[in-house]
């Protein structure tokens, strides 16, 4: 399982509208909920799962990247939403740097292995500073998808 296995241009948003942590997380979950046709209860379940995880410690990992994630049996399979913000968002990253690149990863509890592999794949993909810069400068979802395909 890697990013390209689950990357879907309909689940990529450039730019994100919100400029605060809670707003960005909500926006990312909304993108997923809209694309998958979740009910408002399902949306709330997923959002709460992500916020509960966030309460354990920030998923801002530094270098301008945040990877909010959670297990939720609302989702059928491991899923990914990518969002790029024009403005840096305070995400409590350990390096103190604000985030502009966001990956929301959701997985059902029965797909732990794929969940772990996808998170590792995202971490690997974003080790390159040049790649991160190109992601931050991408203008639309097609460009984000193209960058991952290169």
């Amino acid at each position: 399982m890697n990013v390209l296995d689950v990357l879907d241009r309909n689940l990529v948003k450039v730019p994100l509208m919100h400029t605060d942590k809670q707003g960005v997380i909500t926006e990312l979950v909304e993108i997923m909920a809209k694309a998958k046709g979740y009910s408002s209860d399902q949306f709330e379940d997923v959002l709460n799962a992500v916020l509960d995880r966030e309460s354990l410690g920030s998923t801002g990992i530094g270098n301008g990247i945040a990877i909010p994630h959670a297990k939720s049996d609302v989702v059928e399979h491991v899923s990914l939403v990518v969002g790029i913000s024009k403005l840096p968002v305070e995400f409590d990253a350990p390096d103190g740097q604000k985030s502009r690149i966001f990956f929301l990863v959701l997985a059902p509890s029965k797909e732990a292995s794929a969940h772990v592999e996808l998170l590792a794949s995202i971490a690997r993909s974003c080790t390159s500073q040049v790649f991160r810069r190109m992601l931050e400068q991408s203008r639309d979802s097609d460009e984000v998808v193209r960058l991952f395909m290169e």
Partner: protein, 160 residues
């Protein structure tokens, strides 16, 4: 090296393609009267990397490690059931560590003469090239490797 094969090892990772591989491995073991082993490796290295990268907090790593153990048990039980359906003896092995490293050790210690893998990933991006554990096993295996394409025909034939 033994031809026909006498010691076949199938690597399971929970993917659909690895399920196809176990079906193929079972049929192959039956035809060759070979010893069959199904292996699942709990990727503890990936978990540690996620903690190091700051993606997982330690409590989360422990929780996911338990989930991965459950995944392993579930898929190995499934492999046993499939083998039983075809009256093939199977040994199931659960390991932990860096997948391609512990698999290489197991293949050597068990004197395996064939490793059966599900499909390797398509190369769609330079970044992901050679990153998958299946790809690494393919390249580092001390014994011949059979890559089973994820094919509906194998499922249909198995279930027939």
């Amino acid at each position: 090296m033994g031809v026909p094969f006498k010691q076949i090892v199938v690597y399971l990772d929970g993917s659909e393609s690895s399920m196809t591989a176990i079906m193929y491995g079972i049929k192959l073991a039956k035809e060759h009267d070979a010893k069959l082993t199904a292996v699942y490796v709990v990727n503890t290295r990936a978990l540690s990397e996620l903690v190091k990268a700051g993606i997982f907090v330690s409590i989360e790593r422990d929780e996911y490690q338990r989930d991965l153990q459950l995944d392993a048990d579930r898929y190995l039980r499934h492999a046993s059931r499939l083998a039983q359906q075809k009256q093939v003896l199977i040994e199931t092995v659960k390991l932990e560590g860096t997948v391609h490293v512990v698999m290489k050790e197991l293949l050597k210690s068990s004197k395996a003469d064939l490793l059966v893998l599900g499909g390797v990933t398509d190369i769609r991006s330079r970044r992901e090239e050679l990153a998958s554990e299946t790809d690494r096993m393919l390249r580092t295996s001390p014994c011949p490797v059979l890559v089973v394409r994820d094919d509906d025909d194998i499922w249909l034939e198995f279930e027939a």
